[in-house]
């Protein structure tokens, strides 16, 4: 579709700004991923992040009043196109951007928005999610972490688990129990400063060698009353809204998010590690065939994403294709990770240290970490059960 005159002029503006402000060394570099592992960019990376943060374009559609880009959806789309064109990747990310910010913009009071949104826009504050507990997984509303009203503050006691990035987080948005007599209506949405006395974080070591998840313990943690978002005992609605933002973010998985390690297209990586024959084909015909199967599967997945979006937008009702997305998307991610280390051979199996490039080491870790995607958010087996029952009408075994 052709741009309107306004969009055309915005496109020119975005292109010029990116040309001027994107440091060449940062082209194609994903800074957001490293930050999720607690690593702050340095040098030109830090400069790029600062510029994007000040411009508000890391959160392009958020209101200008809180430092956001203030762009319309159409303008944000144009910005993304221009960023893709320039090889610019958004350095501002994390749970603050994906989930907490949009929720606070809807439910927070003016003071809370003024205080918490601008640091998210600039990528200065990392947030973590205090939802799951050892005995509250799928049945989240049975959570038991208590927040007692002590007059001028809440006193929080309890334990959270699978708190992604808690060890690097400055703040935690938390679901806590403020009324023991009611289930859903006894939950409140509380913001907790991770530096508060009584907060203890224990990272859980995973096979990737990383600890993206933690156990987080709260022992007599004092939380000021002003950190309550929304009404007392009204946290469930807010918490559910946040989950909607989370799932939107997880959507499109196989398209890009969740990929790690070497970022170049797989076929280019394969050419550089394996070489080509006299006709320009990958020198390993078996790998070439399997690589092609993967790339075609990925294309089919992307086309299905597009189709289900178009169908959902039309008046045909929800698309039947939606039910397959989790399994197909997670398979695309894992197949890519497996192919990547196979293409790299022994170079792709380094753990750490000299002898391996950064992207090789990252590819090995992404391969291991990627095993999570067929487990979380409903495992592949659970999703197949769901398809069999809901889509195909097959019955439970008696």
């Amino acid at each position: 579709m052709a741009d309107t005159a306004e969009l055309e002029s915005f496109r020119a503006e975005a292109r010029a700004w990116l040309e001027e402000n994107l440091p060449p060394s940062i082209k194609g570099v994903d800074l957001a991923m490293a930050q999720q592992a607690g690593i702050e960019p340095e040098g030109e990376g830090a400069l790029w992040k600062k510029r994007m943060g000040e411009k508000g374009w890391g959160t392009p559609t958020w209101p200008k009043a809180y430092g956001g880009g203030g762009l319309s959806k159409e303008e944000a789309k144009v910005l993304q196109q221009e960023m893709n064109r320039a090889g610019a990747r958004n350095p501002i990310g994390g749970m603050g951007v994906m989930m907490f910010g949009p929720t606070l913009l809807e439910y927070g009071n003016e003071e809370q928005k003024q205080r918490h949104i601008p640091p998210i826009v600039r990528g200065e504050i990392r947030w973590c999610q205090g939802y799951s507990e050892p005995n509250a997984g799928s049945d989240l509303a049975s959570l038991q972490t208590r927040a007692e009203d002590k007059g001028d503050h809440f006193l929080v006691n309890g334990q959270k688990i699978w708190t992604s990035g808690a060890q690097w987080a400055h703040w935690c948005f938390c679901l806590v129990r403020t009324d023991k007599t009611r289930k859903h209506e006894g939950i409140s949405f509380l913001l907790i400063d991770m530096k508060s006395p009584g907060v203890e974080v224990r990272p859980i070591m995973m096979i990737s060698g990383h600890s993206p998840f933690c156990e987080t313990f709260f022992t007599d943690v004092k939380v000021p009353k002003e950190n309550l978002v929304g009404p007392l005992n009204g946290g469930w609605t807010i918490g559910k809204r946040l989950l909607q933002f989370e799932r939107q973010g997880l959507g499109g998985g196989g398209g890009g998010a969740g990929r790690g390690g070497e970022m170049r297209p797989l076929e280019d990586v394969a050419k550089s590690y394996i070489g080509t024959d006299e006709k320009g084909r990958l020198a390993d015909p078996d790998l070439r065939a399997r690589l092609t199967e993967h790339l075609m599967h990925q294309r089919a997945f992307m086309l299905t994403l597009q189709r289900s979006q178009q169908e959902s937008k039309s008046n045909q009702g929800p698309s039947t294709a939606t039910s397959i997305m989790k399994n197909v998307g997670s398979k695309v991610i894992q197949d890519r990770a497996e192919l990547l280390i196979e293409i790299m051979g022994q170079q792709g199996l380094g753990w750490e240290g000299d002898g391996y490039s950064g992207s090789e080491l990252a590819s090995a870790r992404a391969w291991l970490g990627g095993k999570a995607v067929t487990i979380y958010g409903g495992s592949t087996e659970i999703q197949n059960n769901v398809i069999a029952k809901r889509m195909l009408g097959l019955l439970d075994h008696q």
Partner: protein, 370 residues
Amino acid sequence: MAVLTEEQTMLRDAAKAWVAEKSPVTAFRKVRDSGAAYDPAVWKEMCEMGWAGIIVPEEYGGSGLDLMTLGLVLEETGRTLTASPLFNTALVATSALLLAGSEAQKQAWLPKFASGEATGTLAVDEGPHHAPSKITLEAKKAGSGFVLNGKKAFVADGATADVIVVAAKTAGGITLFLVPGNAKGLSRQALKAVDSRGVANLSFDNVELGADAALGAVDGGAATLEALLDRARAGLAAEMLGACAQSFDVTLEYLKTRVQFGQVIGTFQALQHRAAKMFTDLELTRSCVEAALTAIDKNANDVPALVSLAKARASELWHLVSNEMVQMHGGIGMTDAHDAGLYLKRARVAEAAFGGAAFHRDRYATLMGY
């Protein structure tokens, strides 16, 4: 299912209803048992509904609709294995004329195709595997015309078509020719393949053609042939998608009714997960087929890649679903009385036609530059 126009929805629904009533699998079975390639009465009805002229422009007696629309009808006829000249005439031969035909050639054939008065087909391959880059049938200049010598293999509707689009090697490249089915020197050997459709080997022994038989530029047919093949592949993929959907529906129904160990076998998780995989692959393939047809209609620049994606996935899918159809039905699925065998046999022929999964994976990789 793609978001359809009102016209497309009407035609699709009409096709669905007609196929269920007039052309169920039992009709195909009768045709097979009679030894014919198709039932002329059924084909006549299809033509009367205008299906033969779906993509033929109105000035030549057709409806002037797009390939996506024809694909919707092919999907429905594919569901019940309807045997007819629809694909080879209304899609393949018609597309050849639309892509490269002169005004006189279009006038001569398109109205006849649209009305069902004549049928056509395409002859490209010369061996058991799809290989458009290995054409050896030769057309030599002779006076103002040409003389053709060589062979074509496994030409669908080859024994019955009134006109055959023949891809031949000429002095400076590939040239397409319109060869009448009754041309002197052309011998047609009808074959009996597993899918009981009309297919033939053709032998060209000094077949003389006038200059006006060349379809498009002499020596310049390679690009037209690729475009034509892509239309054929996408259309066939649509027909295969319909057959896959039907194979799956029939199998799913069996899982819900067959009782063993005191319960329907569809309650067993081992079968549920295999059914879920087929459903998943069906959804993915549908996206690819619709994207390929749409790309052709929009004249997009990634037509070749999307078409190879669609044909490869449709071939893989039907391979899987046809095997599962037999396996999940157990012994009954092995009997001639059950439809599973008819789908299995047609599946393999459709997979091989215009290139199977391996051919299109290789082509996809080459198109992507590795």
